[in-house]
């Protein structure tokens, strides 16, 4: 009866003791060294080695980036141009609080800060 159970376990769990359920491991210890038990384990080991031949690739950064991108864009994902545009808008907003003597001074100060982009180009 126990040897039949040993055979059933080797057929289900394979040749390695660590893969057997904990409660069946005493049975493994009892029969693994016997002629019949060793023969059953040798048969199971062939299937184990066959399964071991399956390879899986290590995940690369491309896959990781795709998955993380599911959480939505970040400033880094949008890139430098968008960040520059936002910075320009913030500077323009801040300029609204700066006391200037005339409209010409305001324009001049904005262009100085914003560089080549004109106020019209960025919609301000």
């Amino acid at each position: 009866m126990d040897l039949n159970r040993f055979k059933a376990c080797s057929a289900a769990f394979g040749a390695e003791r660590r893969r057997w359920p904990t409660r069946e491991q005493p049975l493994y210890d009892r029969f693994a060294g016997t002629l019949e038990g060793a023969s059953m384990l040798a048969e199971a080991e062939r299937a184990d080695r066959f399964l071991d031949a399956l390879e899986t690739a290590v995940p690369d950064q491309r896959v990781a980036r795709r998955v993380v991108a599911l959480s939505g864009p970040t400033w880094r994902h949008l890139g430098a141009p968008a960040a520059a545009l936002t910075a320009s808008a913030l500077i323009g907003f801040a300029l609204g609080f700066v006391q200037v003597r005339s409209a010409a001074d305001t324009d001049g100060a904005a262009r100085l800060l914003l560089g080549p982009a004109s106020l019209q180009e960025i919609g301000l």
Binding site: A12, A44, D48, L51, L54, V63, V67
Partner: protein, 188 residues
């Protein structure tokens, strides 16, 4: 690859993801992407399909984090999501035996660089294992992947599959019996 052991960190990260913390999500992906891809690839036999399904699974993580309850390990929950996605995919696609020739195997067959024979042999063996696993009914395949490759305990695997431990053992026995047929062919 196996899930990382620090389950309490996963719970903290999921709580943060529930608050829309993208850094926490990236950290969670970093911790679990490797084993999730390996498990799914073994289930589906296709790297390309595995990447798509894992992406879908992590999208569910992002969308469902606010509702997630830490009454089980995060890895167990993710296994369940991945397993269900694989089962859905099996229902959709044709379960024909044999797999299309893998790109790497196809390339290697025309590459006569020194030392390539061993690589060709390894890739051919890999292809035969994938074909053998693909021939198995989905539940037998899932039982083998969980118990043999992922080394989940019998209790965990049975719970994930929604079966008793006795039924799991039967799935494993039948699956390995089918593999023995492939083995006989493999030795010829």
């Amino acid at each position: 690859m196996k899930p990382p052991p620090d389950e309490s960190l996963d719970h903290e990260l999921m709580a943060a993801v529930g608050r829309r913390d993208r850094r926490a999500f990236a950290r969670l992906v970093e911790r679990h992407l490797g084993w999730a891809l390996g498990f799914t690839e073994r289930m589906m036999g296709s790297r390309h399909e595995a990447e798509d399904l894992v992406q879908t699974a992590f999208l569910r993580v992002w969308q469902g984090a606010a509702r997630w309850q830490p009454d089980a390990k995060f890895s167990t929950w993710l296994y369940r999501v991945l397993h269900n996605l694989c089962m859905d995919q099996f229902r959709l696609r044709n379960a024909a035996t044999g797999q299309p020739l893998d790109d790497e195997l196809a390339d290697s067959l025309v590459d006569d660089a020194p030392g390539n024979e061993a690589r060709i042999w390894a890739l051919q063996r890999d292809a035969r294992v994938r074909a053998a696993l693909a021939e198995l009914p989905a539940r037998q395949r899932a039982a083998l992947v969980l118990c043999y490759y992922e080394e989940r305990t019998q209790a965990e695997s049975a719970a994930l599959l929604g079966v008793s431990e006795g039924a799991l053992e039967s799935l494993l026995s039948r699956g390995r019996a089918t593999l023995r047929r492939w083995l006989r062919d493999d030795l010829q």
